[in-house]
C-alpha cells in the first residue's frame, strides 16, 4: 500500500512542479483533494450511475470555499490566485467532471457574469449568497439550434415598461434544474446580445431535466424554456453588450477546464498504474510487460504536457498577460489529452475497465462532454487558427 502511495505522488508531480507553486497554492490543492477523497470518491460511481448530483454536498462545498474563490472578500471570495483556482478545479475533477462542472458554472459562468457585467448593487445582492451556495446559478447561452455559433441565437428580450420580456429556449444548461437564478443571454430590440439575471421561479420560466445523457451523469443538465418571462430593468447586466460578454465568461470557464481535465487524467493514470502493478497475468504483473509500460508512459507524458501548459497559462493569467486564444489552445489540447488518457486507462483495466467500480470509464464518458462543451475541439482550433494566421475560417 505504502509503495503505491509513493508512486501516486511521483505520478502526480513527475516534473516537480510543486517547486513552482506557492505554499498557499499547495494548501488549496491539498484541502480540496482531502475533501474530494473523503466525500466524493467513495460514492462517485454510484451517483454517476444513478444520474444524480449530490445536492447535500452544496453547503459543504460552499463552506470549503469553492464557489467564486477568486473574487474579492466583500463578494464572498477568498482572492485565490488563478493557479490556486486551477488546482482547485483539478482536484474537483479528480473526483468527477460533473462535480467540477457544477463549480465551474457557479463560479466561472454565473458568478463571473455578475461580477464582470453586473452593477455594484447586483454584485452585493447575489455574489455573497452564491459563494455560500444559498443561490445556485446557471448560464443560458447555448440553444437547440445555436451551439458553436451562439451569435445566431433566437432568444429575444423585447422592451416593455419597466424591463423586458424574454422568449426562447436554451439547451445543455448545467445546473438548470438546481438553479435559483439563470444568467440568460438574449437579443434586445436592436439585436444586441445582453445578459439578464432571471429568477427561475419567474412566471413563464420552466426547466426540463435532460435524463438521456450517457456522459456527465453526475451533473444536472437541463433545457430552459422562457415563455414571455418578464425581467425587470434592475436585473439586466448593465455592462453586457454584444457576443463578447458571454464569450468573456466562457474564457473563465475554459480556463477552469484546462486545469480540471488534469485531475481526470491524473486519476486515470494512477488507477491504471496501480492496477497494472497488482494485476497478474502470465505469472507477473502486467506492469512488467513492454506493451503496458509503453501505454502508461504515454499517459504520463500526455499528463505532464497538460500540467506544464496549464501552469504557464495560470502564470500568464496572474501577470495580466493572458490572451484568450491561449486559453482556447489549452482547453482544446487538455480536454482531448485527458480523453485519450482515460481511454488508455480503460483499456489497461481490461474487463474491469467497463465497470464504474473503477473510475476510468466514468472519466472517459464524462470527458466526451468536456471535449465538446465550452467550445468544441474544432471551434478552439479555429479560434487559434484565426489568431495565428489572421484569417477567419469560421
Amino acid at each position: 500500500m505504502a509503495q503505491v502511495d509513493n508512486s501516486t505522488s511521483r505520478i502526480d508531480d513527475y516534473f516537480d512542479l510543486d517547486s513552482q507553486l506557492s505554499s498557499d497554492e499547495i494548501q488549496v490543492r491539498d484541502a480540496v483533494r482531502k475533501f474530494v477523497d473523503a466525500k466524493v470518491r467513495p460514492l462517485a460511481g454510484q451517483w454517476w450511475q444513478e444520474g444524480v448530483f449530490p445536492t447535500e454536498l452544496i453547503p459543504q462545498l460552499a463552506e470549503l470555499g469553492v464557489f467564486g474563490p477568486t473574487l474579492p472578500e466583500k463578494y464572498g471570495g477568498a482572492e485565490l490566485t488563478p493557479v490556486a483556482y486551477g488546482l482547485m478545479m483539478q482536484e474537483l475533477e479528480r473526483g468527477d467532471s460533473g462535480l467540477r462542472s457544477f463549480a465551474s458554472v457557479q463560479s466561472g459562468l454565473a458568478m463571473y457574469a455578475i461580477y464582470r457585467y453586473g452593477s455594484e448593487a447586483q454584485r452585493l445582492q447575489y455574489l455573497p449568497q452564491m459563494a455560500q451556495g444559498k443561490i445556485i446559478g446557471c448560464f443560458g447561452l447555448t440553444e437547440p439550434d445555436a451551439g458553436s455559433d451562439p451569435g445566431s441565437m433566437r432568444t429575444v428580450a423585447t422592451s416593455v415598461p419597466g424591463g423586458v420580456r424574454i422568449t426562447g429556449v436554451k439547451r445543455w444548461i448545467t445546473n438548470g434544474n438546481l438553479a435559483q437564478i439563470a444568467i440568460v443571454w438574449a437579443k434586445d430590440d436592436q439585436g444586441i446580445i445582453r445578459g439578464y439575471i432571471v429568477p427561475t421561479d419567474a412566471p413563464g420560466f420552466s426547466a426540463r431535466h435532460i435524463a438521456t445523457k450517457a456522459s456527465m451523469r453526475m451533473s444536472v443538465t437541463s433545457e430552459l424554456y422562457l415563455d414571455n418571462v418578464f425581467v425587470p430593468q434592475e436585473n439586466q447586466l448593465v455592462e453586457s453588450k454584444g457576443l463578447g460578454s458571454p464569450l468573456g465568461c466562457l474564457t473563465q470557464a475554459r480556463y477552469g477546464i484546462a486545469w480540471g481535465t488534469i485531475g481526470a487524467a491524473l486519476d486515470c493514470v494512477n488507477v491504471a498504474a496501480s492496477y497494472a502493478q497488482t494485476r497478474i497475468a502470465f505469472g507477473k504483473p502486467i506492469a512488467a510487460t513492454q506493451l503496458v509500460q509503453e501505454r502508461l508512459v504515454d499517459m504520463l507524458s500526455l499528463t505532464v504536457n497538460m500540467q506544464l501548459k496549464a501552469l504557464q497559462l495560470g502564470r500568464l493569467y496572474q501577470s495580466g498577460g493572458l490572451r484568450y486564444p491561449q486559453v482556447s489552445l489549452t482547453k482544446r489540447d487538455n480536454a482531448r489529452s485527458a480523453l485519450v488518457v482515460a481511454r488508455m486507462a480503460r483499456e489497461i483495466l481490461g474487463g474491469n475497465g467497463i465497470s464504474v467500480d473503477y473510475s476510468p470509464i466514468r472519466h472517459l464518458a464524462n470527458l466526451e462532454t468536456v471535449d465538446t462543451y465550452e467550445g468544441t475541439y474544432e471551434i478552439h482550433t479555429l479560434i487559434v487558427g484565426r489568431d495565428m494566421l489572421g484569417e477567419s475560417a469560421f
Binding site: A2, S23, D24, Q27, A31, G65, A78, L80, I280
Partner: protein, 255 residues
Amino acid sequence: MKILVMVKQVPDTATRIRVAEGNASIVTDGIKWVINPYDEFAIEEALRIKERLGGEVVVVSAGPQRVEEAIRQTLAMGADRGVHIKTDEALDSHVVAQALAAVARAENFDLILTGKQAVDDDAAQVGPLVAVFLDVPQVTVVLKLEVDAEHQRLVAERELEGSIEVVELPYPAVITAQRGLNEPRYPTLPNIMKAKKKEVRVESLQALGIVPNVKVRTVSLSEPPERPAAKILTGDPVAAAHQLVELLHAEAKVI
C-alpha cells in the same frame, strides 16, 4: 483562554521510508510532510475551546524551514498565530521540550495541548517533559476534555486498557491528545488565504537560551525485512472465498 498547541511535522504516514546512507537518518527527498495526526486532534480541541470560551490559540513547532508549512496549515485551520523555533540540528525529545517550554513560559498559557506521540519516532516524550519543565500537571492520552473556566479546572477522560479513567486537575496543565478526542476540521480556502496574513514569529534555540545538549543520539536505522508480495484473489466471490480458506490453511497455516 490562552492555549498553546505544540505540533511536529512528520513524514506522511503513507510515505515509504528509506534509510539514508550512513544508516543514521532517512531519505527526505520526495517525502510529503504533514502535521503529526495526533497533534491535529490537539489543534482541533484548542479551536473548539476557543470557540466556546474565547481567547487565543498559538501554535509552536521546532525544526527546519519546512516546518513553517505545518504552522501555516494550523493557521489555516483557525489558529491565531505561530512560533517557529527554527533549527536544522538533529535534536532529541529533551532539547525540543526545553525549547517548547521556553516559548510556553514566556507567555503564560492557560493550557498546553499536543498529540500523545509523534508518528515518526513514537517517543511520546515531549508533552510530559514540557509539563515537568513548566512544573504543571499533565494528563496523557486524553479522549475527552472538559474545561471548567469558573473554577479553573479540567476534567479529562483517559484511555486505559479496557477502561476509561476520569481525572480532574487544575490548569495551567499539559494535555496530550488521543485519536477520538474529536474530528479535526478541514482547512477552508478562505482560511488558507487568511492564514497568509497571520504572524509566524521565528525564534532560535540561542535566543531562547537553549544549549542543544543532545542526550540521545540515533546510532543506526535499518529497514524491516522485505515481506513477500501480497496475493490478491479476484473473480467469483464464492470461488475466491474457497481459495482464501485453502491458502490460510495450507500456506499461512493460521486455520
